[in-house]
Symmetry: C2
Subunit: 345 residues, 2 copies
């Protein structure tokens, strides 16, 4: 792998994995497998070799947690870029690019993804870094395991070899269209990217100049320390994703297919799918499961017994207890909203 | 109601309502409806009027809790008879009978029953006390709501009027037999009795003299205080129920039908049945239930959200969390045994 800097995007509101995650402690700061948290796993997966120390973009409330967790993981951040407010990924990427040397290859990685097959991930990353060093904008295209309607899709220009020019990006499809996409070899848009700092800034200036202007104005004149606090000018940037701002518009986009059990952990069901590829029951903590099929059961602070139920998610934490049909995972927002309204009331 | 003394049997191992109940705090010390605990409701239902202060039979570990809860309920016990070990109900009843005046009418009531229709209960009790004062041994026969195989049945000698000679007691039947019993007007054996102290002792001496001998030897010579500690001789008594020892053998048994929504709270399903006679979902504590049918959800110490599940029991307490198919309620013992083995290990 050529020299590259991990750029960790540590945003996320934390409502989709209630009661584990919360606004004050979103999912990247929790562990789903073993003792390692998601953000720790994210930096570890790309650490070592030619990889530089990571740069993290996060909000003010999470700076201490980010530094503590990365230090514990043996990968203290070279910089922590602090957003005064969330403005989606394009301004976050711009801030990181402006804070790094122009020829740095940036590995842009959300902090809250789960990637079980690390060997496959590292091979794909190695390809991506080489391609990006040559001036392309690389995105990872996850090989679909089902016609999911929850992801955007990428049509690659070819099927042979480890990297392809991007034919086009398409929005989240309906079920029929998703099935067609999967049959045609389209890939899921993962939200992970690799590009040089100078290249992404050049493309941003071309397609969304207001992003770079606002972020440059927000960058403090003295950004030599580890923690770089962006000014309120950051809020003048359009709130736009790096996909919409650049990837869908540039002619330099390349996709590297990734077949590594990846999930963006968007729901408890996706956690279960990632941890139970064979479709069994996954338990964590002090759990008794009797006659339970295809379920995810997690006990954080007290024993949990589940008897005679299939396809359920049961999550116990000091915050509360969630019991749901696994196929209703999107409705966990109802529980998160319920708690948020109580906490304010 | 003629003068009568409530004799509260406060035994029970507490495993069938895990994680609410436990050996140190079995179900009679918890509330299922409102703030009142089951033992408090038991004394309140028979308090006032011609009723004397209650006598309680319990084990040593529960004396303080019994006294505290009955004082809180405004019905402090006249006596607490302490068993050195559990020997089933016949010795417990004998101890109470020996500690009371011979002509006392004893209302023998397990501390852990739930009786929603209190007016119906009081009417039946009034009949029972009058009949018992005349020298009969009265049992309450619960009017069945279904052909349950979990109860013993009583065949009454008649159907007219408020009390009937008992034709016979029958053991827990299979499903076909239960259906036949219900069709024939048999009643459930409730485990609640009313008789005079001298009459039950006379019958016990006739049918199971070893019980009275052992209990009399266990009774301290000075039993004037409130707390009466039985000696180790109590263990010499046969461990036998008052049903087997006397009721099934005597020719003085009378049954008073009771149609009051009674349940012995033998499982979480029976709790649900008692609290949801219309078959709906019952919640207690800080609970969110979305698309949940025919379920019992109880949050003791933390918020519980249940989404998209029918026919479940979810119980959260500081001890742990139980999530089960309501129709598997008998299997809660698996969870209780699991915890007991962990606590010892």
């Amino acid at each position: 792998m050529a020299t590259a800097t991990p750029v960790i995007l540590s945003g996320g509101s934390g409502t989709r994995l209630w009661p584990l995650s919360s606004a004050t402690r979103p999912k990247q700061f929790h562990s789903l497998v073993g003792d390692e948290t998601l953000i720790q796993a994210t930096v570890r997966r790309v650490a070592g070799g030619e990889s530089a120390p990571p740069l993290v973009v996060c909000n003010r409330a999470h700076v201490a947690e980010v530094v503590a967790q990365l230090e514990e993981a043996g990968s203290p951040p070279s910089k922590v870029v602090v957003e005064p407010m969330g403005r989606n990924t394009a301004p976050a990427v711009a801030a990181a690019a402006l804070a790094l040397d122009p020829d740095t290859v940036m590995m842009v990685l959300p902090a809250d993804h789960l990637i079980p097959d690390e060997e496959a991930f590292r091979e794909a990353m190695s390809v991506a870094v080489e391609v990006a060093a040559g001036g392309s904008l690389v995105t990872f295209g996850v090989v679909p395991t089902r016609p999911d309607t929850g992801y955007g899709y990428i049509e690659p220009a070819g099927t042979e070899g480890p990297a392809h020019r991007v034919e086009r990006f398409v929005e989240k499809p309906d079920a029929d269209t998703a099935a067609r996409y999967v049959a045609a070899g389209y890939l899921w848009n993962s939200g992970m990217f690799v590009f040089r700092a100078d290249v992404i800034l050049e493309e941003l200036r071309r397609h969304e100049p207001a992003v770079v202007e606002a972020v440059a104005a927000a960058l403090p004149t003295d950004a030599a320390g580890t923690v770089v606090e962006l000014g309120e000018e950051f809020g003048d940037s359009p709130a736009i994703s790096i996909d919409h701002a650049v990837m869908e518009r540039t002619d330099r986009a390349v996709v590297v297919p990734l077949d590594a059990g990846w999930t963006d952990v968007g729901s408890w069901n996706s956690v279960w799918e990632a941890l139970a590829p064979e479709g069994g029951t996954v338990t964590s903590g002090e759990v008794l499961a009797v006659d339970v099929q295809r379920s995810y059961i997690r006990a954080e602070s007290r024993p949990v017994a589940v008897i005679g139920l299939d396809d359920v998610v049961v999550v116990e934490t000091p915050e509360g207890v969630l019991v749901m049909d696994r196929r209703r995972s999107q409705d966990v927002r109802l529980a998160a909203e319920w708690r948020a309204s109580r906490d304010q009331g």
